[in-house]
């Protein structure tokens, strides 16, 4: 039953493009977040393994 339901989904061929766009967006957001983060924050995070005593 569900097979026919899915087949009838209009524009199912856009799934691939949508996925690529989601990836592109996720990547850009991660990149921007990394690029814009403050140096102090990054230093604090990077030092977490060394300050664990």
């Amino acid at each position: 039953m569900y097979k026919y339901l899915l087949q009838s989904v209009e524009g199912i061929q856009w799934f691939g493009i949508t996925a690529l766009l989601i990836f592109f967006t996720a990547f850009c957001v991660a990149f921007l977040r990394a690029a814009l983060s403050s140096k102090d924050d990054m230093q604090h995070m990077a030092n977490l393994p060394l300050d664990d005593k």
């Binding site: 087949q7 691939g16 996720a26 664990d52």
Partner: protein, 716 residues
């Protein structure tokens, strides 16, 4: 100022997983050496002496499972249980859960060590364990998850370091992969059939198989790299910003790359292309991570010369870089046309397994043991020796196999000026590369000897030191359990401090790839064109197929003819997806140590198969295939047949209603026919119709013949 709390880190559980990793690793490597020797000296298969469980086909999955899930698996838990506690400034959530996790995982390994040599296997690579063990794995994984998230929730450090993101992504993705791949219908206490068949099962398998590499062998080890490399080098990671991009890009892209295991197969083109594109994209985050690791050592390279821990880690990260460059290259279709089905793939995975996983595990162990035992390493000299022997071992393993793979591929594809195959006898392409196989044994043995030196060194370190089971620590109590963002702080800080949201985001990202690739393939019928003449296996053929699965034939024989002239000339017409719709599980394989069998049906007389199973060298002088004389003696057990037919019918195989009641009689009838046929071809043995050999012959003679029937009907 918040109150300072005193607590203790649990080192016992770290030590237990570390020891298990070393012990199982040694066993897995030893089995690898035995397998490598069997390819040179087939008599070592010992099947002629009644020890079927020692045959290559049955031991190969034991080797891969031991290395992946026992050696690396215990290595992951060792690294996670040590670093998680310290990064979160908290003891593990529950000591009891830690130990249930530890012993549960060891029981899974013991079950695998028993069932795989016994021939109880699903035959799906890296998911060979049968359904009861699958359930046990799920339970143990849930225990691990509760323990990990419990610890994260009771932490004293607000922010989650990037290593923990990798651990979270690992946990959720492995859970999804394992559950989806293990959806199967049991037909007996220990055996089952996969829900999906043929091309769909293949896609699901390599979505799983590839991501077992990604999320079991890679992401948790990247988490360990991000923790232990800065610790060993005593300097923070080169770029924390890069690690953020590395994480999100890697987990998203990895999940798509599975179809590169199925290039030129009968998988639809759009899926293959998607797999190739995402595989090539993978270079970027992978190399971002590698460079982040190596650049952490900037200004500390002088220490790499003296410290064996750093030496192991540098080679590990370099091997990661090499393997993750090679992987995308092998995903390019024109390269894959050469490399696939050859030993090139075996060399590639061993650069990853020996170099990346092996050496990072050793590096971490050498770093951890002296700290947990509050002493110096027993012998730095011995550790250095281990490093050099291991490095040489990797080289002696990989280089000959690259050579072997290339040589064999060239021989498979070479034509004479007259247009016939230059090496028409497949066996010639095998005997040519036996010297390379011998060199591989040398390399593997070197690596194994190095591992034993490591075991000795760590045992001696333990003896000389004094184990610190509970390590005192203190940290300020976490105030409200909530992080208040200051003005201008970023949303990512918010996620970093919220593990459950991190889990959800990771799940969504990794789910997208699976959904887009698998849903259309599984749910849209037009993706798998049907062929009218392709019919379900007869009951006897089904029994034969299950014997084929039991003996692990798929480890050396593919059933997928690619659309190249060199293959259609050698094997016959290329494979179509519609031919495999009743294959549960699919048996396309990924390595051709022997020839492809997709069209072996009708190629030889029944008596040829009979004699070939008794002793392959009588039919193919120089063959390295194990002999299977027991198949001529073992009684054919048809007792499960009604259940098998019932399970397959429920899954959609169009057996007539109530056929399960007639299946045994049908099988016996066909068995008598095959036995008569053998007699007419000069085989004189008595009672053949009741032996396993009959079923396997029936199955082999069926392979690839359905579309020939269609052709002859069309011609008429």
């Amino acid at each position: 100022m918040s109150r300072i709390e005193q607590f203790q880190y649990d080192n016992r559980i770290t030590r237990a997983f570390g020891m298990a990793s070393f012990i199982w690793g040694s066993v897995g490597m030893l089995v690898g050496i035995i397998l490598a020797l069997q390819l040179i000296f087939p008599v070592l298969n010992a099947t002629s002496t009644g020890l079927e469980f020692l045959s290559f086909g049955r031991l190969r999955p034991l080797h891969t499972n031991a290395v992946i899930f026992a050696f690396v698996g215990n290595g992951i838990f060792m690294g996670v249980y040590y670093s998680l506690q310290r990064l979160l400034r908290a003891r593990m959530f529950s000591d009891r859960l830690s130990w249930i996790h530890f012993w549960g995982w060891q029981v899974v390994i013991l079950c695998a060590a028993y069932t795989l040599p016994m021939g109880i296997t699903t035959s799906s690579e890296y998911a060979e364990l049968e359904w009861p063990i699958d359930i046990l794995i799920t339970l143990v994984w849930v225990v691990f998850g509760i323990n990990m998230f419990g610890t994260i929730l009771k932490r004293r450090e607000d922010h989650l370091y990037v290593a923990i993101w990798f651990y979270i992504a690992t946990w959720v993705t492995v859970a999804i992969l394992h559950i989806v791949r293990s959806i199967e219908v049991p037909f007996s206490a220990f055996k089952s059939y996969t829900v999906f068949s043929g091309v769909q099962d293949a896609l699901l398998q390599w979505w799983y198989g590839h991501n077992a590499v990604a999320f079991f062998l890679t992401t948790p080890y990247l988490g360990m790299m991000y923790y232990f490399l800065p610790k060993a080098a005593n300097r923070p990671i080169y770029s924390y910003k890069l690690s953020i991009i590395h994480f999100w890009a890697l987990i998203f892209i990895y999940i798509w790359a599975g179809p590169h295991h199925l290039l030129y197969s009968s998988m639809p083109d759009w899926v293959q292309s998607l797999g190739t594109v995402f595989s090539i994209m993978l270079i970027a985050p992978s190399w971002g991570g590698m460079l982040n690791g190596l650049l952490t050592l900037r200004g500390a390279w002088d220490r790499v010369r003296q410290d064996p821990v750093l030496k192991f880690m540098v080679v590990a990260v370099t091997a990661y870089g090499m393997a993750t460059f090679e992987g995308p290259m092998l995903s390019i279709k024109s390269v894959n046309a050469i490399s696939h089905f050859t030993d090139w793939t075996i060399a590639h995975v061993h650069v990853g397994a020996l170099g990346w996983n092996g050496f990072l595990t050793f590096g971490v162990l050498y770093w951890l043991w002296p700290r947990m035992y509050r002493t110096e390493l027993y012998s730095v000299k011995l550790a250095n020796m281990h490093f050099w022997i291991g490095t040489l071992g990797i080289l002696f393993y990989a280089v000959p196999l690259y050579w072997a793979g290339w040589t064999q591929a060239m021989m498979w594809k070479q034509f004479t000026p007259e247009g016939t195959l230059a090496w028409g006898n497949f066996l010639d392409t095998v005997t040519q590369i036996i010297p390379m196989y011998a060199m591989r044994v040398f390399g593997g043995t070197l690596f194994f000897v190095g591992t034993l030196l490591g075991v000795y060194n760590l045992v001696k370190t333990g003896q000389k030191g004094n184990f610190l089971a509970n390590e005192d620590a203190e940290a300020p109590a976490r105030q409200s359990g909530k992080v208040v963002l200051a003005v201008g702080e970023h949303w990512h800080r918010w996620i970093e401090s919220r593990p459950i949201q991190m889990l959800l985001f990771s799940t969504i990202l990794i789910a997208i790839g699976g959904i887009v690739q698998i849903f259309p393939m599984v749910f849209i019928e037009s993706q798998v064109p049907k062929i009218a003449s392709v019919k379900p296996f007869t009951p006897l053929e089904l029994e034969g197929r299950d014997i084929y699965i039991r003996e692990g034939c798929v480890g050396c024989h593919s059933q997928q003819v690619r659309p190249f002239r060199s293959e259609t000339e050698r094997y016959g017409e290329y494979s179509k997806s519609g031919e495999h719709i009743y294959d549960r599980p699919f048996l396309w394989g990924s390595k051709r140590t022997g020839p492809d069998l997709a069209r072996v049906g009708g190629k030889y007389p029944d008596s040829w198969h009979y004699n070939h199973m008794l002793d392959p060298t009588t039919m193919s002088p120089g063959s390295i295939m194990p002999a299977y004389p027991a198949m001529l003696d073992n009684e054919l057990d048809l007792s499960d047949l009604p259940n098998k037919i019932y399970a397959l019918r429920k899954l959609g195989t169009p057996y007539p209603k109530d056929f399960e009641g007639k299946a045994i009689a049908d099988a016996k009838k066909q068995a008598n026919k095959v036995a008569e046929n053998l007699k007419s071809q000069g085989v004189k043995d008595e009672g053949m119709e009741n032996k396993e050999i009959i079923a396997i012959i029936a199955y082999m003679q069926r392979l690839g013949t359905d579309i020939k029937a269609q052709k002859s009907a069309t011609q008429k």
